[in-house]
């Protein structure tokens, strides 16, 4: 028996040793040489017409797109944020910390902070004069990006990439508004002393939403998106949104996003009919001088982590 063990032992060792090199992630994929060559031949061919697909139709007027995003069932209850650090007495007066605004549901089930936007690059000429006039406006005061009670007032904030926004600090303590942009939007991280403001000009369109935080108060969290066109909206505390002066008579690709849902919407109904939003995308062709009104209903379970 001992002798058998003496044969087996090296065998077992030989079996055990290689397990040390196994990868826990699956092995990486490898590129197919033929495909790579094909792509390289594209690189050498004269440049194509450009990234955007050619636009064939012109809008026939303007429309309004309004809606209500509503959840049914019991939405997750948001806990207070965990406040720590030197400003704890200011940010959580009498030990009462602000409530997390990751999920905000109104009394009638309206879901706040849902972002709806046209996810296409469109010609500037399509813009309504009202929008064109505001192309390089500065968003300040109530339209600005405010920090109050050690929370961002706008949890989801959408703006035009060509505009400038005032970063307002309404608090008696300093905040650093850490804008961690993506795509062509610029990043910024500036300290804003108590009761002062700073300005942020994105300078380009972001790829999607990106996070904004304050590192002095690490619980503070918000999202921004910057768009070249003006066709976007964020649902208010009652779950309502409105996008005015949307080009009508053309197919527009929309996207819809919420922090917890991302773009993974499931079991959605729009005005009672089931809707399939793969990757949060839907397409609309609006009637000129009309209002398209949607009631979007989702089950509250979609908001669970």
């Amino acid at each position: 028996v001992n002798r058998r063990l003496c044969y087996c032992l090296p065998a077992l060792l030989a079996l055990l040793l290689p397990t040390g090199c196994t990868r826990r992630l699956p092995p990486d994929v490898s590129a197919n040489t033929e495909n790579v060559d094909k792509l390289r031949s594209l690189a050498r061919s004269p440049a194509g017409s450009g990234a955007a697909a050619p636009i064939t139709a012109n809008p026939t007027g303007f429309a309004t797109f309004t809606g209500l995003v509503k959840v049914t069932g019991q939405p997750p209850v948001m806990p207070p944020v965990s406040v720590s650090g030197n400003d704890a007495t200011y940010c959580a007066p009498n030990g009462r910390a602000p409530i997390s605004d990751e999920v905000v549901v109104g009394p009638d089930g309206g879901l706040a902070n849902v972002l709806v936007y046209v996810d296409m690059d469109l010609p500037e000429e399509w813009e309504h004069p009202d929008d064109a006039a505001l192309r390089t406006a500065t968003l300040s005061g109530p339209q600005g990006f405010d920090q109050r009670g050690c929370m961002f007032v706008s949890h989801v904030f959408a703006m035009r990439s060509t505009q400038t926004v005032e970063l307002i600090n309404s608090d008696g303590v300093a905040h650093n508004t850490n804008i961690n942009a993506n795509g062509k939007a610029g990043s910024s991280n500036s300290l804003i002393p108590a009761n002062l403001s700073d300005k942020y000009t994105p300078g380009g369109q972001s790829r999607g939403v990106f996070p904004v935080s304050c590192n002095i108060h690490t619980w503070m969290k918000a999202y921004m998106i910057t768009r070249d066109n003006p066709y976007f909206a964020v649902t208010d505390k009652n779950g309502k949104f409105e996008i005015r002066n949307v080009p009508a008579g053309v197919n527009l690709d929309f996207r819809i996003w919420q922090e917890r849902v991302g773009t993974g919407w499931r079991n959605v109904t729009v005005n009672g009919a089931p809707a399939e939003w793969s990757r949060g995308k839907f397409t609309l062709n609006l009637q000129p001088n009309a209002t398209e009104n949607w009631e979007v209903v989702v089950d509250a379970s979609i908001l669970n982590k």
Partner: protein, 433 residues
């Protein structure tokens, strides 16, 4: 004497996992363990041998984006990864055969000859000039892909830089821009005090140059990869299956647009070093230091909020840097799973610098501190200082450039304060605990 034998009548042969080993039973007895070992070591060689070096997919980033948007089906996932990899190989080649995409009207920030010098296996050319410099000097910490996960990475604190976000901390440019050539050169030549990053001062000038170009190459490649992976799980405008995509030309144009946007930021950064106004005449005088101290504890500069009332770096110690935040969520279960998968190293909190230790990672020259305080430190919680706008009056509480210099004077003096002697610091830390 019994031995293993396939024709042993008492023990019929069974097809087991060990059956290949039992075949060796016919060999002379003494050789059997040796043969077994030989087979075992051959097997080992399959792991430790050197297949062609590959850039590894940024798996942690992809998983993060799937959590952010919507998870991919497992079958779809490998296809998407392969599609992205093929685009990356077409653009940037492989570690052994790197290439850099040409962009119309732009001086490429990566030179082909220097790239060749830094890339590939460690070697030398016919003139005895070194080749494979990156693998010789950098890859063991920063990894073949520049992911900061080389074999030694797990043993280092701080972890080596992951270049693939294109973010660098110690630089002269505004927060939104990549570092200049000079910035990377300074890091390579001086090293980073207080970290494992050594000085490469002893390398020849052209070797340091080659490495700067290679770091830029890995950064730009990594940035493009990140966007392609986001796109692959999100919008899919740039997802190309070379074998089947019909609008391949348009999609390729979008990819080229992305590459050109990424490169032009690096090119633009060269001329964007933040100008430094000259220090006031009383810089580093006792008045200057006193004014700096006042600012340090003020709500205007807010330094003490993170660096602590003691300046020992103990103010805010629960935050993470942007490299970590981008891939590791603030969720214990997911974090543990990512670590177990080997997708990330166990994340560590970012610590505000202990300003009493006289170790300044990004350099201790006044100008280095000026850039860091004025611009903030990219990828970290450190914000740009609140500077008084040109049109604001003297009642505006924000800092002037003279104020900034006084703050620098205070920070540079902190290590020499009586309190900063190691004995006193230890006592102080004990008291606070």
């Amino acid at each position: 004497m019994r031995r293993y034998s396939t024709n042993n009548s008492e023990r019929p042969a069974r097809p087991t996992a060990l059956s290949s080993l039992t075949l060796l039973g016919a060999a002379p007895r003494g050789l059997l363990p040796l043969a077994v070992l030989a087979v075992g070591s051959l097997w080992l060689a399959g792991c430790g041998g050197a297949p062609a070096a590959q850039f590894r997919t940024n798996e942690a980033w992809m998983l993060a984006k799937e959590r952010e948007f919507a998870p991919l089906e497992p079958a779809e996932r490998d296809d998407v990864k392969r599609n992205v990899k093929e685009v990356l190989v077409a653009l940037f080649g492989t570690p052994d055969e790197p290439r850099f995409p040409a962009v119309d009207g732009e001086e490429p920030p990566v030179d082909a000859i220097k790239l060749e010098m830094a890339a590939g296996a460690v070697n030398s050319d016919i003139f005895g000039k070194p080749r494979g410099l990156y693998r010789e000097h950098c890859a063991h910490c920063h990894g073949i892909s520049g992911d900061g996960q080389g074999p030694t990475a797990a043993f280092l604190n701080p972890y080596p830089r992951d270049y693939r976000s294109g973010l660098f901390k110690f630089k002269s440019t505004p927060i939104d821009l990549p570092p200049t050539h000079e910035d990377l050169h300074r890091i390579l030549v001086n090293g980073i005090p207080g970290t494992a990053m050594p000085s490469f001062r002893l390398l020849a000038d052209d070797e340091i140059e080659a490495l700067i170009h290679y770091v830029r190459y890995l950064s730009i490649r990594g940035q493009v990869e990140q966007v392609l992976l986001v796109d692959a799980v999100d919008r899919r405008d740039m997802l190309i299956d070379a074998a089947s995509t019909s609008d391949i030309q348009d999609r390729w144009a979008a990819v080229e647009g992305l590459v050109s946007d990424t490169i032009s930021k690096w090119t633009a950064a060269e001329a964007m070093a933040t100008p430094v106004s000259p220090p006031p005449a009383n810089f580093e005088s006792s008045d200057s230091i006193a004014r700096g101290r006042e600012l340090f504890f003020s709500e205007t500069a807010k330094c003490a909020g993170c660096h602590g009332r003691t300046a020992l770096g103990d103010g805010e110690t629960n935050d993470f840097d942007d490299w970590t935040k981008a891939v590791v969520p603030n969720d214990e279960a997911v974090r543990a799973e990512l670590i177990a998968l080997g997708a990330v190293l166990p994340p560590r909190n970012i610590r505000p610098r202990n300003l009493r230790s006289n170790v300044f990672r990004g350099g201790r020259r006044p100008i280095d501190l000026y850039w860091r305080i004025h611009n903030g430190i990219k990828g970290t919680p450190m914000p740009a200082a609140a500077m008084r706008p040109a049109d604001a009056g003297p009642e505006d509480p924000r800092m002037t450039s003279d104020d900034l210099w006084h703050l620098i004077a205070y920070v540079r003096n902190l290590p020499f304060e009586d309190l900063s002697s190691p004995v006193k610091v230890q006592t102080f830390q004990r008291e606070r605990q």
